[in-house]
Amino acid sequence: MAFQKVVSRHFDVPNAHDIAVYESLGGYQAARKALAMEPGAIIEEVKTSGLRGRGGAGFPAGMKWSFIPKDSPKPKYLVVNSDESEPGTFKDRKLIECDPHSLIEGVIISCFAFGSHQAYIYIRGEFNQQRIHLNDAIQQAYDKGYLGDNVFGTGYTIHLSTHRGAGAYICGEETALLESLEGKKGQPRLKPPFPATHGLFQSPTVVNNVETIATVPWIIANGGAAYAAMGTEKAKGTRLMSVSGHINKPGVYEIEMGMPFKDFLAENLGGVWKGRTLKAVIPGGSSCPILTAEEAMNLTLDPEAIAAIGSMAGSGGMMVIDDQTCMVDLLEDLTHFYAHESCGQCTPCREGTDWLYKIIRRIESGRGTAQDLDDILDIADNMEGKTICALAAAATMPTRSYIKKFRDEFVAHFEHRGCPYKQAKVPAGAGA
């Protein structure tokens, strides 16, 4: 099937955030349809669609829902992950701003599918205006009887509220998010047990990304097969890309899985800014290994193709980098982020992220030696696979890739005893 917009279909419609406009576009018909279906049939439809999580890990959504035990006496929860803090990612924000009702409708369908009566949307503290905006939309849905104790007159109960975070990247990790929702520090839990059995308040819980849930109404309205007809053999459908950096037209774009990067850059993004040359691309958020221009230009944008060259599709947060950029400087900024955001529970991560940052800062300032590169790789070896959550690897994997692919730039810093590109006026993260 030819590509058509799914989650971004209302982005250009004025006032689609208003329930009257949303309904005039066919909104809430999918929820009505779903509530007349067998819950199991909804899960099957989502499985057929091939929809995978859009938060970063790409886990099949339908399968995740089917892990929720049917016979548990405990309440079941849906928690929507709207923490969106991975540098380079801003699609969920756009979705909430432009089309909050598709998220709410997705919540209704998902809750009904796996038997939940209570959902929370955990939204990062910085998105305060978006939270207020979303609360208004939720109130509209309550007023219409689409949420509450008698959803669409069916007698089914669904309550939904937002929950405001307070500034911590780690709360995007699903178990840290649950801890935070429970009123604690956002420190990830050891898994197993998994949220499907021991999630929020130790009850069965599904955690899904905003975009994942907002895709569900379209799938129910048009059928899982229609969604699966788009994309590649393995990666079905479409996805949102947040694109920023050195390009002419930054923003949020919906693309069909498997679109060639080359076309995306030329047709959608208007090419590299200031007439400069492409140097590198971060394909899916700051945690993803970096790609050289050559790798990127030969790439198709789907998780399998990106994994095949050693990186990740991640959260779809693409950053485009031009030829005037110092990669050591960029890595210094990146490692500062992870050092700042480590929750501090695991020694290899707490200490390791800080060491990585300090060593790279030293190299950038011209006081590094070749030994430093060996030390970095050694530290990375001692972090990966030795921690509770994936944040440690989110710092080491890109670090390795910068050194591997742009080693000559590190060497140039040793030789010049400083940064050949030096334009930066403030050290990364000063005062943070």
Partner: protein, 180 residues
């Protein structure tokens, strides 16, 4: 003894009702937000009050409040300006913007102006990378696509606004910036 204003108390009651009765602690972060919006920051006294209202120890509240960067456990200036300097913004002028803002106010990142008006901090990615350089004002409004002119206008606009005026930044929600 502290107490929430009537309006905040009503919000607090509504908030607590969102969570199961035996899970009152889940209301902690939202309640800290209410307290911070009521009193401007989280003083030790405020944190003790929140602890008592939620039914947890003051030590727990202190641990939680200091874990999250948006909770202010030290008294900030009347206006908090946070410029993003994460990866994408770092490529498109975030650090230069932070420098320029600091120079205009005569302070360094992390400091408060001597008149207690402004606190400036560097922030990690604020989810607005496509409108870089950008900053968040008072934990609320985003001011995007910053340039020298906008910085000057922002400082002058905020100078007249005391703390607590919900930042409706007239000059910055105009066309060109993302609207809600």
């Amino acid at each position: 003894m502290l107490a929430f204003s009537e309006k905040t108390e009503a919000q607090f009651q509504e908030l607590v009702a969102r969570y199961p009765e035996d899970q009152r602690q889940a209301a902690l972060l939202p309640t800290l937000w209410l307290a911070q919006e009521e009193w401007g920051w989280l003083s030790p006294e405020t944190m003790r009050y929140v602890a008592q209202r939620i039914g947890v120890t003051p030590a727990h509240v202190l641990g939680v409040a200091t874990f999250y960067t948006m909770f202010l456990t030290e008294k900030p200036g009347e206006h908090l300006l946070e410029v993003c300097t994460s990866v994408s913004c770092c490529m498109t002028g975030g650090r230069e913007t932070l420098r320029s803002l600091c120079d205009k106010l005569g302070i360094e990142p992390g400091q408060t102006t001597p008149d207690g008006k402004f606190t400036v901090r560097a922030a990690e990615c604020l989810g607005s990378c496509d409108t870089s350089p950008m900053m968040q004002v008072d934990n609320d409004a985003y001011v995007e696509n910053l340039n020298e002119e906008k910085l000057v206008a922002l400082i002058s606009e905020l100078s007249d606004k005391p703390w607590g005026t919900r930042t409706k930044l007239a000059s910055f929600t105009a066309a060109g910036d993302r609207r809600l």
